[in-house]
């Protein structure tokens, strides 16, 4: 518990001050203050007061909460452990983040199934738009005043709301799927883009607009992603991003899989991030279970996470160059990527999705001789990165194509919930690994690169520099890998170390239970966020004291970033839009989950 005590102390301190402050200002309008094991202040408030409270938290509280980090719902109807929480059949959860005060706050609104309505907060944060649409899509909760409360992740013709407990989780619980011609025509018709629905005009005084479907299959949208463009010639008047083509229901699966068997699904959320996706999930479960992992585990986790960060950034770098028409860099970058994957494979046994972290540790100890190959990489890579600087970042045409394109300010980044390199490119030095070190990042010496213009070029430059910093971190991991166990000695560590089961009956029972049922995590709520490859990725887990999660909320950076595309690309040309899309660095699996 030492680690969590260290980290949560400053947050808990501001948390207590904040609780006093909010209780003073809002008095009995606060229905309850819920304790959670992550120490994040959690207020319950009635829906008539939600806007006032959020506005006060944004504008007047100390610290001010600049960003609406997440909005989601919980279907509370079959939840057993709700001690001290106001009666609710559904809950809407707002998660705000403060960058000036480096803390978070959670606000919850209780709702009844017969009257699932509350006011929209789009006028406070434009980023609320998609989050509210998703909450409506998944739970049927209506946000009054929302301009486009349409389906966002599920198909427009879907019946029901997928994350409600009565909705089936498996295809086998539903009728076999079939698609006849009439049905197909119906589905096609539903996908047709109708500009009027989005408040767009078909013509201006001088010209008729062209509406162009960029996607869902297009060479530059990096997956199945559609943007409906309103074009005047080649100039972009407006755009409507349309997501959901890569939706697999990961959050629903979280309620179905055991705590342990959900780990491989997390790998596939940001499919370029590999084990970096496991990290927030296993840390969240460990926090609820009260597991303190050994130093060696922390360092191994950091080393592999940074390797995946480099892999992901390399792919970004190459496709970024390719999207501005440079054919070759991606092929060079795949050479390094291959090298790193080879190392990862020799450690984890798999390449892109090892699913290698475990609750309370990692799957295996590092293999013999692992340092040799990692050191080779550390020698080989810096000079290649310098070559790429010559090839891509110093190229005149690349500069002309990307500098001054798609720029935004820090305030816009707050408004649209942009995190990660996209936020640091605006000049804010804010990296989760530095601001709230987790898994032992506080022991490492590295810098947080920032840029000032916030344009496409800067977003790329930041990631290039981050690769160098990641190499520094990996080097420190190799030089100082602590000795010790690769799994925590705790009954909820899953699976526990087999060797120890033969020595005492307690461990044998625990082993038997955790490999047959899976671990039972005590009822609690927790949010754990990490600096993922593309921004801040967080898991909000609700445990109801069972072998599965009651609610798994996966907040991904790409989702928020895509929402910003129209805002930063209006007035540019189609070719610029491609550069902007490339510079955002998203993965559709990370957007749709």
């Amino acid at each position: 518990m030492m680690q969590s005590a260290q980290i949560s102390t400053p947050a808990a301190a501001t948390g207590n001050a904040l609780v006093t402050q909010v209780l003073r200002d809002f008095g009995d309008r606060i229905l309850a203050v819920q304790p959670t094991c992550d120490g994040m202040p959690t207020f319950w408030v009635d829906r008539k007061d939600i806007k006032a409270l959020l506005k006060s938290l944004r504008d007047h509280s100390t610290p001010r909460f600049e960003m609406l980090f997440d909005v989601t719902g919980i279907d509370e109807r079959v939840r057993v452990h709700r001690d001290g929480q106001p009666a609710a059949e559904f809950t809407v959860v707002y998660h705000l983040m403060s960058f000036s005060g480096n803390s978070d706050v959670r606000v919850k609104v209780p709702l009844q199934d017969a009257d699932l309505k509350l006011p929209t907060v789009i006028d406070l944060w434009p980023s609320a738009n998609w989050y509210e649409r998703e909450t409506w899509d998944m739970f049927g909760i209506e946000f009054e005043g929302h301009p486009n409360l349409y389906r966002i992740v599920l198909p427009p013709t879907w019946e029901g709301h997928a994350l409600r407990k009565e909705h089936p989780a498996r295809a086998t619980e539903m009728e076999p799927f079939s698609l006849d011609d009439d049905q197909e025509a119906f589905e096609q018709e539903a996908l047709l883009f109708k500009p009027e629905e989005w408040g767009m005009k078909r013509k201006s005084d001088t010209s008729e607009f062209m509406f162009l479907n960029l996607g869902p299959n297009h060479p530059s949208v990096h997956g199945a992603f559609r943007i409906a463009l309103q074009l005047d010639g080649e100039i972009l008047v407006d755009a409507v991003p349309d997501i959901g083509y890569h939706h697999r229901g990961a959050e629903k699966m979280g309620e179905r899989q055991s705590w342990h068997t959900f780990i491989p699904y997390t790998d596939r959320i940001d499919y370029l991030g590999g084990v970096l996706n496991n990290l927030p999930y296993v840390m969240a479960v460990e926090k609820m279970a009260g597991i303190e992992v050994p130093e060696r585990v922390k360092t191994i986790r950091i080393m592999l996470s940074e390797m995946f960060r480099i892999c992901s950034h390399l792919l970004f770098y190459g496709t970024f160059a390719q999207d501005v028409g440079q054919l070759s860099p991606i092929f060079y970058m795949f050479v390094e990527r291959e090298r790193i994957f080879n190392i990862i494979e020799s450690i984890c046994g798999a390449r892109m999705h090892p699913g290698w972290f475990r609750i309370g540790g990692v799957a295996q100890d590092l293999p013999n001789g692992w340092e040799t190959r990692v050191r080779e990489l550390l020698e080989f890579m810096p000079q290649r990165l310098d070559e790429y600087d010559q090839m891509v970042m110093n190229n005149g045409i690349v500069k002309r194509r990307t500098q001054g394109i798609g720029a935004y300010e820090t305030q816009q980044a707050y408004d649209w919930a942009v995190t990660g390199p996209g936020l640091r490119a605006t000049g804010l030095e804010w990296d989760f690994r530095k601001q709230r070190p987790y898994s032992g990042y506080e022991n490492f010496d590295f810098d947080v690169p920032i840029a000032v213009n916030g344009d496409c070029y800067d977003r790329c430059a930041i990631r290039v520099e981050e690769m160098r910093q990641s190499l520094r971190i990996i080097k420190q991991c190799v030089d100082n890998m602590p000795a010790g166990d690769y799994k925590a000695d705790h009954p909820l560590t899953t699976p526990p170390r087999k060797e120890k089961t033969m020595q005492d009956i307690e461990t044998l029972i625990n082993h038997f239970l955790s490999v047959s049922w899976g671990p039972v995590i005590p009822p609690d709520e927790v949010t754990v966020a990490v600096e993922a490859t593309k921004g801040i990725n967080s898991y909000y887990l609700v445990s109801d004291g069972s072998t599965t999660s009651y609610r798994t909320r996966i907040r991904t950076p790409s989702f928020a970033h895509l929402q910003m595309i129209p805002e930063i690309s209006r007035g540019f040309m189609v070719a610029d839009l491609i550069a902007i899309i490339a510079s955002i660095d998203f993965v559709m699996a990370d957007v749709d989950r």
């Binding site: 062209m210 070759s328 040309m573 491609i578």
Partner: protein
């Protein structure tokens, strides 16, 4: 049996060689690109993957030749035929060697410029008749790009014409006996090279078919052999531009006598073909409006000044 200009045998040989070379370029380009990009490229079919072209041809000939129901059928079919025809016709006036060529024409340079202008119709018709928004964007870009770059292409050639005093390409080659024209006409050469890339719309000037932006641009809706004709047409254009550079600036077939003239011609053209492929591997694509303003605001004045200076020097000597 000797080769002479205009004989049936010569015409047949030239036509055959040009088409085979253009087809083989598909393999050459893929192998060269792979070589420069640390990968292998097609190396499975036949020795060094040489038969890859045959495999590609079989595939493309046997593919369903689909015309979209919403397309304008007549111009949709006509468009790929135009590009093949005008580029093959352009080869008629190229002097490949002292006795090798299809026709003697006193207006060779003008003929080629005229054919290049007609080539723009192919791209425009292909895009417009497809009734596809990406194709429309592609053909709009193509029309603007080809029309503007023809201007500089024409003007950059005028220096050569002034120096040799003829529009006849054979006379132009013969006029380079003492000195190849790329020395006195270096600026003209560079402008022609750039305009040549733009005319054959290859990366970095492949804006009409920029894959990352507008899928495949004007030939988005094409498949089977009609697509193949656009594809081979692009390589024919590459061969044509390389041959033209050889003829206009690098002394055509001339070279030390240990190799026959036609080999010199082939070698020189080959170097430029490889150079164009290298360009594709190395340079990113500028934006459409950047390309336009680069053309009109930089290349046009430069080519005019080049012509003015050339004229002044000719008059003063």
């Amino acid at each position: 049996m000797t080769l002479e200009v205009g004989s049936g045998l010569t015409i047949g040989l030239i036509l055959g060689t040009v088409i085979v070379v253009a087809a083989m370029l598909i393999w050459v380009e893929r192998r060269l690109l792979s070589f420069w990009q640390e990968r292998l490229g097609p190396n499975r079919v036949g020795p060094f993957g040489l038969l890859q072209v045959v495999a590609d041809m079989i595939k493309i000939f046997t593919k369903e030749d689909w015309v979209p129901p919403f397309a304008d059928r007549f111009s949709f079919v006509l468009a790929p035929a135009i590009i093949m025809t005008v580029i093959l016709l352009s080869f008629a006036v190229i002097p490949f060697g002292p006795n090798v060529g299809v026709v003697e024409s006193n207006i060779g340079v003008l003929f080629i410029l005229a054919m290049a202008s007609l080539g723009a119709y192919s791209v425009m018709l292909g895009g417009l008749s497809s009734d596809n928004k990406y194709a429309l964007l592609g053909s709009l870009r193509a029309a603007a790009q080809m029309v503007s770059y023809e201007v500089f292409m024409g003007i950059s050639l005028l220096g050569v014409v002034a120096l040799s005093g003829s529009f006849n390409l054979r006379t132009i080659v013969e006029a380079q006996e003492g000195m190849w024209f790329f020395i006195p006409q270096f600026i003209g050469f560079v402008i022609f090279l750039i305009a040549g890339v733009a005319e054959s719309h290859r990366l970095p000037f492949d804006i009409p078919e920029a894959e990352q932006e507008i899928c495949a641009g004007y030939h988005t809706e094409y498949s089977g052999m009609k697509f193949g004709m656009f594809f081979v047409g692009e390589y024919l254009g590459l061969v044509l531009v390389s041959s033209l550079i050889t003829v206009l600036f690098f002394g055509g077939w001339m070279g030390p006598s240990f190799l026959p003239p036609i080999v010199w011609f082939a070698l020189k053209s080959g170097v430029f073909i490889a150079f164009f492929i290298l360009l594709r591997a190395a340079i990113p694509r500028p934006r459409y409006d950047q390309l336009m303003s680069y053309g009109w605001l930089f290349l046009l004045p430069l080519s005019l000044i080049n012509l003015l200076v050339t004229g002044a020097i000719i008059l003063s000597t």
